[in-house]
């Protein structure tokens, strides 16, 4: 028996690490992975609550979130490839074509 608070705290810490990664990272691929990490932290919390309530609806939600994460990764990486062909860099500070 592990307290539910411990699982929620792990989810919060993983989400915080993802936030740090999104803000600090300068590599576009690492930044996309940080977004995935935040989605995963939310999934962990959903699963924990689903266990506490003894309802399985959370598992269905996590399934849908996984699908959305897969779609987001596919489209995001396609955009990274196109931008890399045009600008020859993965530095997100150089991705400023849409700036103002």
């Amino acid at each position: 028996m592990v307290n539910i608070t411990a699982f929620l705290l792990v989810g919060a810490v993983l989400f915080g690490i993802g936030v740090i990664g999104v803000m600090v990272s300068r590599n576009i691929i690492v930044l996309l992975m940080a977004v995935e990490l935040m989605l995963n932290a939310a999934n962990l919390v959903i699963i924990a609550f689903s266990r506490v309530q003894n309802l399985m609806d959370g598992h269905a939600f996590v399934f849908l979130v996984l699908t959305v994460a897969a779609a987001e990764a596919a489209v995001g990486l396609a955009m990274v490839i196109t931008i890399y062909h045009n600008r020859r860099t993965i530095n997100i500070d150089r991705y400023n074509l849409l700036k103002w």
Partner: protein, 202 residues
């Protein structure tokens, strides 16, 4: 205070998950980042299985480590990234400090809310079988997905179709002639040096 075997598994998995997620951003080489993320995901899937979500934990490993992160690796290989790319000058230490303070403050707020909430009770952890009709089994998840959440489940198929079409459209090369030129077999012309040799021989 004795720590049960469940507690030990939880502590190890949580530590590995947080360690992998932290090391992911400390790497210069993107391939090492992806591998650390996979390590973190495997530990997270252990936590899922501890919470009785056997099917979702297996799906996490299969879909994330097996598909999404391999997609990341493919892109890293296509772009031929080696970790020695120019990432610009590092941001100032004040800017970095602000970012860390903001993120740590957010985490502390979340932890405070969790600590002060009413959810402070123990959950039954450990593998609950997962076979047949028990909590977290594939049958239970499927019966939910195909009855109560049928419309969201069908909508995800449209989302995936849109993502496929969008990814193909976005990643396609813009210039058609360039691609066709690459697909044509190269026309072999006599090089200038050979011509001069022939002329010299003639």
């Amino acid at each position: 205070m004795t720590i049960s075997i469940d507690g030990i598994i939880f502590i190890v998995s949580a530590a590995v998950a947080i360690f992998g997620a932290t090391m992911m951003f400390a790497q210069r080489n993107p391939v090492a980042s992806v591998l650390y993320f996979i390590l973190s995901l495997v530990a997270q899937s252990t936590l899922y299985i501890q919470l009785g979500a056997l099917f979702v934990g297996a799906i996490l490993i299969i879909v994330y480590s097996g598909a999404i992160l391999v997609l990341f690796l493919f892109v890293i290989m296509i772009l031929n990234l080696r970790g020695d790319e120019d990432l610009g000058k590092p941001s100032s230490s004040i800017s970095n400090l602000t970012k860390y303070i903001l993120a740590i403050g957010l985490t502390m707020e979340l932890a405070f809310i969790i600590r002060s909430s009413i959810f402070g009770r123990a959950v039954p952890t450990g593998v609950v079988g997962g076979a047949g009709n028990e909590f977290g089994s594939a049958e239970q998840v499927a019966s939910l997905l195909f009855t109560r959440y049928l419309y969201p489940f069908e909508l995800t198929s449209i989302l995936l179709l849109a993502a496929i079409v969008g990814a193909v459209l976005i990643a396609r090369r813009e210039h058609k002639e360039e691609v066709e030129k690459q697909l044509q077999p190269p026309v072999i012309k006599p090089s200038r040096s050979e011509m001069t040799v022939d002329e010299a021989a003639g």
